[in-house]
């Protein structure tokens, strides 16, 4: 159903701006009076004010992106670099393992980033990295107040991101594949 917005021409009284003015006065005066009595949204919620009492962020709030580990504590990221590619402010920088690099810290996945850096000064919390991640390895979590004393400190490395990200259980597709391959016994399965 399309809604038809009534745009009838204003009458003379309305064109004097007076009704709009009165409305404005009414609303602002109401809020002013309430605030002067010490009541506002923050007190309604009963928490207090921000720096002392952190916001209660809503469920599904999208704050800073962090890397997560699976239920076995292994790095989920396989360094596919799609997040680096999609990142609009180019905040993500991944160093791939390279030919001599160390494999993943879980069997069968072959690959994990040598270094994974997010420059939180650049990050705009847009969530595209989470959206694009095929491994469900990066999630926007509920941190919203990131601070640091210098620019270097605001570049979060892999270790820090994994620590902040915590464990995020998933389907563990690489492990699943490995088990499937073992069951088939058609080829010797190499496990390193």
């Amino acid at each position: 159903m399309t809604k038809v917005v009534d745009r009838s021409p204003l009458n003379f009284y309305e064109r004097t701006y007076l009704p709009a003015l009165m409305e404005g006065f009414k609303i602002t005066a109401r809020h002013f009076a309430r605030s002067v009595q010490g009541k506002n949204t923050a007190t309604d919620l009963g928490d207090g004010y921000y720096p002392e009492v952190p916001w209660r962020v809503a469920e599904g709030y999208r704050g800073a992106p962090y890397l997560v580990s699976d239920q076995d504590g292994a790095t989920k990221c396989v360094s596919c670099q799609l997040c680096e590619f999609i990142c609009p402010p180019k905040a993500i920088k991944i160093t791939p393992p390279g030919p001599e690099g160390q494999g993943a810290d879980r069997p069968n996945a072959e690959k994990m980033p040598r270094e994974f850096e997010i420059n939180m000064l650049r990050c705009i919390f847009c969530g595209l990295c989470q959206e694009v991640c095929p491994e469900e390895a990066i999630f926007l979590q509920q941190h919203y107040s990131l601070t640091g004393l210098n620019r270097e400190e605001m570049i979060y490395n892999k270790e820090k991101l994994l620590k902040l990200g915590g464990v995020h259980p998933g389907i563990q597709k690489w492990k699943h594949k490995l088990e499937e391959a073992r069951d088939q016994e058609s080829f010797p399965v190499k496990v390193d």
Partner: protein, 571 residues
């Protein structure tokens, strides 16, 4: 343009080709009856080639224009129809409206179902109609792709081919969003070591046999084959054999999926980040055309670039892997004057003064045939100005059957044509050595060569009054240089090489030079200008055109006419 220059290896005036009229998606098109196959032999034109001429792309995996046709992936299935022939008169049967009656191909036992033909291997016939975008063709493609993906591991996230993978591309165009295959997939070996440079992932393989055909028919090293049966088909090397010929990495390029990957490039960088720069391989006189993949000033890989006149689609592994030195940490990055760090202004100023006061015949120049033609030209002008003896250094190796040339210098012809070297490269070096020994030559200018390895040993070098050296990496000559001018690798500058067969080809800049290093032609142009030898040039285009107008062999060539594939000049 003079007659001296010919563009491309002129497809020797094609004989009048017989044309056939067919219909592609309802549009009439005339296609030649015969076309050259991978060996250049004329064979009947295929449906796939006809569709390509009609600008209808037919998806395919196993077909490769430079390989024999196998026709085993079935991706190129196309619905078609042929004119109905009256068996009695041998004439096409006409419809009521006068058009030719067409019989669409159908399954013999199921006449209502269209039948496709593999476009890559089916020759066309007069009056044939191809339907590369008909619903039946689409359905066939979808079905083939679905079956190819049944056992595919879908590990694009860790696959180096992702981004240039035909399986990915065709899945987007012709694939289905969801797999209907719910059973466990067949698992095959992963990360199999095929040879010193190749890793195989059998799960990703679609058994197109491009690699098998390449290594058997092009590289002439029958190392690969398919073993096992049915779902357990895998690519493998012949027992006791390694896949280690000097062209093995080409199979990585032609592998349409991520089954064969390069050990050198493995997990190094995702391909969509790579900036592609058209360049040339400098490892020998063949001058293979390459594409440099780089990101943020780091070189990641060389890949062959198609050029029928030089290298087709291939290049050798040794040339392909000959890039890490460009990023070496010990690259020369600092202008030095008598061992002390200096700057370009000071060094070039002092060199100018020195050369201006040098007496005729007291200067010798040893250039390198690994330098660009423009640089050699400028050095030649410098030599003419100061009356110097010039030569360059020979570098011989073993040639092979396919691409590797015995001359390992990329620009020997450039050195000869610009006059740096005479008919034979390197014959003047003994006389330069004699000149130094007798004290006649007091100033030696060396570009890009370690002269201690080619007849002027360290003791003799010590007798040189002023040693001016430009190079890229440190060596015994740079260590004793009075003036050390850091130069650029070819990936860091622009210029041209003339290959052993006299093809002038240009290459472009992929990465920035390190530290103080500057393209040699830039500071040579400044030097020759301040010496009054050549007007200053600030662009490579201007310099090249000037050179072309002065070097007889290059008459009529212009930078803008070089194109991506170069032009031939008489040598």
């Amino acid at each position: 343009m003079s007659n001296a220059v010919t563009t491309a290896p002129a497809p020797t005036a094609p004989p009048p080709v017989e044309k056939i009229r067919i219909k592609v998606d309802g549009r009439d098109i005339d296609v030649p009856k015969l076309m050259p196959d991978w060996q250049g032999k004329l064979v009947p034109t295929t449906m796939l080639q006809a569709c390509q001429m009609a600008a209808q792309e037919v998806p395919h995996y196993c077909y490769h224009p430079r390989l024999p046709i196998a026709g085993n992936c079935r991706m190129c299935l196309v619905e078609f129809g042929t004119p109905v022939m009256d068996p009695a008169t041998k004439k096409p049967v006409l419809n009521e409206d006068g058009s030719t009656k067409i019989a669409r191909s159908v399954l013999p036992y199921e006449p209502q179902t269209p039948r496709g033909a593999i476009a890559c291997a089916t020759p066309i016939s007069p009056g044939m109609e191809l339907y590369p975008s008909s619903p039946a063709t689409k359905q066939m493609r979808e079905a083939v792709l679905e079956s190819l993906l049944i056992n595919h591991p879908l590990d694009c996230t860790i696959c180096d081919q992702a981004g240039e993978c035909k399986l990915q591309e065709y899945s987007v165009q012709h694939g289905q969003a969801q797999s209907r295959f719910v059973e466990p997939k067949v698992h095959k070996p992963k990360a199999v070591d095929l040879g010193p440079r190749i890793v195989l992932d059998d799960e990703r393989c679609i058994l197109c046999t491009r690699c098998v055909r390449f290594t058997r028919d092009i590289a002439g090293d029958d190392a690969l084959g398919i073993v096992n049966r049915g779902s357990y088909n895998t690519i493998a090397t012949a027992p006791g054999k390694q896949f280690d010929n000097n062209y093995s990495l080409n199979t990585v390029d032609i592998c349409p999926v991520g089954a064969l990957t390069s050990k050198d490039f493995r997990f190094k960088m995702r391909v969509w980040f790579l900036k592609e720069t058209k360049s040339l391989c400098t490892s020998c006189g063949t001058g293979c055309n390459i594409t440099i993949g780089s990101r943020e000033n780091v070189l990641h890989r060389f890949e062959p670039r198609d050029n029928d006149a030089v290298n087709g689609s291939w290049m050798c592994d040794s040339g392909r892997l000959n890039y890490p030195w460009i990023g070496r940490a010990d690259r020369l990055q600092q202008v030095q004057v008598r061992g002390q760090a200096s700057d370009w202004g000071t060094a070039l100023g002092e060199i100018t003064t020195h050369l201006r006061n040098a007496s005729d015949g007291s200067v010798a120049i040893i250039a390198s045939a690994r330098q660009t033609t423009e640089e050699l030209y400028l050095l030649r002008q410098l030599a003419v100005r100061v009356g110097a003896l010039t030569d360059s250094v020979e570098r011989e190796g073993e040639a092979d059957r396919l691409l590797v040339h015995s001359d390992r210098n990329p620009n020997s012809q450039g050195a000869r044509l610009t006059g740096i070297a005479y008919t034979e490269i390197g014959i003047s070096i003994p006389s330069i050595a004699d000149g130094i020994r007798s004290g006649k030559i007091k100033t030696l200018i060396v570009f890009g060569e370690d002269v201690t390895k080619c007849g002027i040993d360290a003791g003799l070098l010590g007798k040189v009054g002023t040693l001016i050296v430009s190079d890229i990496l440190p060596n015994a000559t740079t260590a004793v240089a009075h003036y050390l001018l850091p130069g650029c690798a070819h990936a860091e500058k622009r210029g041209t090489f003339i290959n052993a067969k006299g093809r002038v080809q240009k290459f472009l800049k992929a990465v920035e030079p390190k530290g103080d290093a500057r393209p040699e032609w830039e500071f040579l142009a400044e030097l020759t200008k301040s010496l009054g030898a050549v007007d200053g040039f600030s662009t490579i285009e201007g310099l090249f055109n000037r050179m072309a107008s002065e070097v007889p062999a290059l008459a009529g060539v212009e930078w803008s006419k070089l194109g991506d594939h170069g032009v031939n000049v008489p040598v």
